[in-house]
Symmetry: C2
């Protein structure tokens, strides 16, 4: 029921991970609560001890996953370094996160293009705001970017990274470190101040 329950037994996290894995395979509505429970090694009723409903479970999963991503993306960021270097680092981190967390990539994409995102636009990861969004705001204020609306930047960038990661994960190709760097530069060349 409650939003802030201690998860001493790890069942809350087990449910979240189970949901994440199943949604990748079957989609939101293709995954019944009974299956989520089974895979988490938990009774169906237990889920409702931690989450009000299937809907809030998915929304809380979204925040959970995006928190994890925010930490991964901001890893190794160093304010002393040149802006472009920091930018490329973030791009590569995000690409790697996607590739190493296929479930998360697939889930996030589904979530963003589902009615959930429209109905709960305020529910988002605070960590992501603080670490990632902040970086872009800094870049905008200091005129590192082309003169386009700032809110266009993030989705533009994401589109390219998601495309690359999805492609790698499809197994059709194996990108080298240089390939990924090239992808990061496609993005940079597009949005940098020309």
């Amino acid at each position: 029921m409650n939003v802030q329950l201690e998860d001493t037994t790890g069942k809350r996290v087990a449910v979240l991970n189970s949901t994440l894995a199943l949604i990748k395979e079957y989609g939101f509505h293709g995954t019944p609560m009974s299956l989520i429970a089974k895979r988490a090694g938990v009774a169906a009723g237990t889920i409702y001890h931690y989450f009000d409903s299937k809907e809030t479970l998915i929304i809380e999963l979204y925040v959970h996953v995006k928190d994890k991503m925010a930490l991964a993306v901001a890893a190794g960021d160093d304010e002393e370094k040149p802006f472009k270097d920091r930018f490329i680092n973030l791009m590569i981190n995000q690409y790697n996160f996607y590739v190493e967390n296929e479930n998360a990539l697939f889930f996030l994409e589904q979530y963003m293009s589902s009615p959930f995102a429209k109905n709960y636009p305020d529910r988002d990861s605070q960590l992501f705001m603080d670490k990632v969004i902040k970086f872009f705001e800094y870049g905008i204020e200091n005129a590192y970017f082309r003169n386009i609306d700032s809110r266009l930047l993030a989705p533009t960038i994401k589109g390219t990274l998601v495309a690359a990661a999805t492609f790698q994960l499809s197994g059709q190709i194996v990108f080298s470190k240089d390939d990924i760097l090239e992808v990061a530069n496609v993005i940079w060349d597009g949005i940098k101040r020309q």
Copy 2:
């Protein structure tokens, strides 16, 4: 039942349009067949005269929508013109299609990030292949693009356009023709041979 039924009464198209509109609002599984029927002005059973199941209805809707998009995107394309001009024209056409067909944009995004797309990767619009994919193959063969894998191009481009169109549709901003041109140039500057 049959795949190639004449639609003399327009009920097949009515069902497709009804489905498109409802999916935008409620998502795939949030829209029951009964509601699709009601909105189309048709009995529930009639849907099954034209489509085998809800699943095939959605797959056929995908092809239907993408056919429409292919025609809109390729409008005014002229092989005599410089490649960059043709490219920008295609970008602007696709942007405009998204903005003028919000239902279609939302549906396509949902479809692509759903298990449908993974389960039926071969079901796609022939028109889109012939008109749009062909153009990019031409650009690749003639080395207009940066040296990245060709299959990375389309999704990279789409990511930016979808971002822009979604933003415009959110009502947060009204893009001028020049703004859209600028977006098209972000894409071009990113992927052109540097």
